[in-house]
Point group: C2
Chain length 154, copies 2
DNA sequence: GTCACTGCAAAAGGTTTGCAACGGA
DNA sequence: TCCGTTGCAAACCTTTTGCAGTGAC
């Protein structure tokens, strides 16, 4: 059998799985599951496209007694650090967050509607080996994002 | 002969070539080559690692009658838009600029000293075809950056 | 009861903008 | 001379921080 690269696996984040996962990791870490944080998680789950910290803060503000700005920023930082949020860079140079799962993922971003699909398996091994040999770098990681038009927008 | 992916080609930006290229493209575009802009180009050529707009402004300030902040920001935006600067995203989530040439490049970034090597040829065709089929996206472009330790730092 | 978390409000950064004066081509 | 460019200073937007009060466990 020829040496075929593995097919990439697309990954979809299930809202309940994600929220339970976050809460579980908070428990494990000794962090507390508070009302404001729960609201942040719910709000994040309502996005279909990447969001910014300020946007999340603004959207949360529509309800009564919303979390403060500091709480929103601190929660995002926390989730992002633990891998529950992934950072997306748009072609226009903006950046935002999307729900993710701890681990190594790449993202395919629709340049029109902003929809994001995560996937694993980037088949870069060959490139990494060649580049390492050519540049004498010891390669440790990478960032890969693809841009295009989704089925609905193209 | 087997269907081998092409080796990546590393690319080095020559300071004189770069400055002449920028000036030529300004002429072509009907933009003017002014004293403040020339200073910005010179300052950019002195960096060995990615720089930010504010950092460039600060560094230019050390000389007499430095360009104003607005000029620095506007020049960077211009160069970046024309492909003479490439945006680098560090693993830590920061971003900066490095001199580049118009065209499609990827970057290998040293996570210790910040040194950057540009290269072309990422051998992603196979992945793109598979993902396009799997997701029904029409893929238009991509962002690829590699992180590692350079020969000197490893 | 303890200690992590919250909200506020201020500070700190970074980036953009309007406009009158300036100076390349 | 013409018109793109500059510099200033203010406005704007995003993110961070200190601290006293609050509430999860």
């Amino acid at each position: 059998m020829p040496n075929r690269p593995p097919s990439p696996d697309t990954v979809r984040v299930n809202p309940d799985t994600w929220k339970h996962g976050v809460r579980a990791s908070w428990h494990t870490a000794g962090s507390r599951v508070t009302e404001p944080r729960a609201r942040v998680l719910d709000a994040i789950m309502r996005y279909q496209t990447p969001f910014s910290a300020e946007q999340l803060y603004a959207d949360l503000g529509h309800a009564a007694s919303p979390p403060g700005r500091a709480t929103v920023y601190r929660t995002i930082e926390q989730l992002s650090g633990a891998g529950w949020l992934a950072r997306i860079h748009t072609q226009a140079g903006e950046s935002g967050y999307v729900p993710s799962l701890p681990g190594h993922f790449h993202h395919l971003v629709c340049t029109r509607c902003g929809a994001v699909i995560a996937f694993q398996g980037c088949a870069l091994d060959d490139l990494l080996i060649r580049l390492a040999a050519q540049t004498d770098f010891e390669i440790e990681g990478h960032l890969l994002q693809l841009y295009g038009r989704c089925a609905h927008c193209k």
